[in-house]
Amino acid sequence: MIRLIWSIVLGTFFWLPTICMAAVQGEYTIVIKDHKFEPEQLTIPANQKVKLVIDNQDSTPEEFESHDLKREKIIQGNSQGTVMVGPLTPGAYHFVGEFHEDTAKGVMIVEQKEE
């Protein structure tokens, strides 16, 4: 029985093509220090897959969370975490450090690149 449910759930995933995965086109670092993001505003190009390295320089863990970006990730004190985002449409995407929401706030501006 469990095997049957397994096969259905897994099947649902694997028949779907995992192609059309865009390659990473840029890397950006956001530093967390004193429970604040640095920079607090970050501009990235639209329609590109981007790697965000969250560098937590505080000694305490922090959770990078963004409903706009649909990402959440716990980053331990004095360590780094990777968050992949995009391709995104132009707009403002807010993020917070959930463990210190009063101070850790930031926004990612996604802009159309001028060709």
């Binding site: 759930v9 409903h67 649909k70 990402r71 990777t82």
Partner: protein
């Protein structure tokens, strides 16, 4: 104190909602309260363990270990809840008759009761890791211990109360309908979990989004609001779901619905006597 209470409340709220529905859904199974406690304790122990190894987990799977772990926990939880619902749909009739007759928990159900404990443990584990890390973080940052403890207790208590209210609301439903109602609820809950898992797999780069945003109802009903979170946990509401999440949600619901319909009912018809004998009444 309040910022601590709010974070703890949010995590407890999610645990309590799921446990509340599960408790109502498995009404009539013997000793389920005890097994739920076993699950809670196991979950707490697991949370501390995962929080301890968080860094290593994070580095795994090319930096996507956390996303993968979350997706796997969600999928396993979904499968186990699904299995419980199927079991309940097979045995719902006898359970109902039992409840009507004796009015309290007497039905033997070895298998789902262990599954229940595991499901509870995994649910506590998922949210508990965040609680552990957050509390640790707040403690080290130099929050006053009294504020910390009060905030923690207040958040945990109010979050837990929501689950208790939900449970008592659900068991008010006439016995004739309770398994139907909870089965439906759990089906949506499972679909929501699988779709959330799909979200994590997308974040880990294992699944495409298909369409980045199917709709945006963040202005209408934010996931940050209490109602938004309530619907997110129980029905899988998302304010900006990707195409993949919507597809997976629909597929899970459809597949699960078919399973309950065909598997649940054929067994009920063919094996009526078998079911009755298995409960020794």
């Amino acid at each position: 104190m309040f910022s601590i209470a709010i974070v703890i409340f949010r995590e407890m709220f999610e645990i309590a909602l799921i446990v509340g529905v599960l408790m109502a859904a498995t009404r009539g199974l013997r000793k389920r309260g005890q097994w739920v406690m076993v699950g809670v304790l196991g979950g707490i122990a697991g949370s501390v363990l995962i929080a301890f190894f968080a860094d290593r987990i994070s580095q795994a799977a090319e930096g996507m270990g956390q996303e993968m772990l979350n997706a796997i926990i969600l999928l396993i939880t979904a499968i186990l809840i699904g299995w419980t619902v199927l079991w309940m749909s097979r045995h719902g009739r006898e359970l109902t008759q039992h409840l009507k007759r004796v009015g309290h928990s007497v039905v033997k159900g070895e298998k789902p009761i262990h599954t229940l404990a595991v499901v509870v443990a995994l649910t506590v584990l998922r949210e508990g890791t965040e609680i552990v890390m957050f509390t640790y973080s707040a403690f080290v940052t130099g929050g006053r211990p009294l504020d910390l403890i009060l905030g923690f207790l207040f958040g945990a208590f109010t979050g837990g109360a929501v689950g208790v209210i939900l449970y008592y609301g659900l068991i008010k439903i006439p016995i004739k309908h309770i398994f139907n109602v909870t089965s439906w609820l759990l089906m949506f809950l499972v679909a929501g979990m699988v779709s959330q898992a799909a979200g994590y797999l997308t974040a880990a780069g294992k699944l495409p989004e298909l369409i980045p945003t199917m709709w945006d109802t963040s202005k209408l009903l934010s996931e940050d609001s209490l109602l938004g979170e309530f619907l997110q946990v129980l029905l899988g509401y998302a304010q900006r779901p990707s195409g993949m999440q919507v597809l997976v949600y629909a597929a899970t619901l459809a597949a699960f619905g078919c399973l309950v319909k065909f598997y649940g009912e054929t067994v009920k018809q063919q094996g009526g006597t078998k079911c009755i004998s298995s409960t020794n009444w």
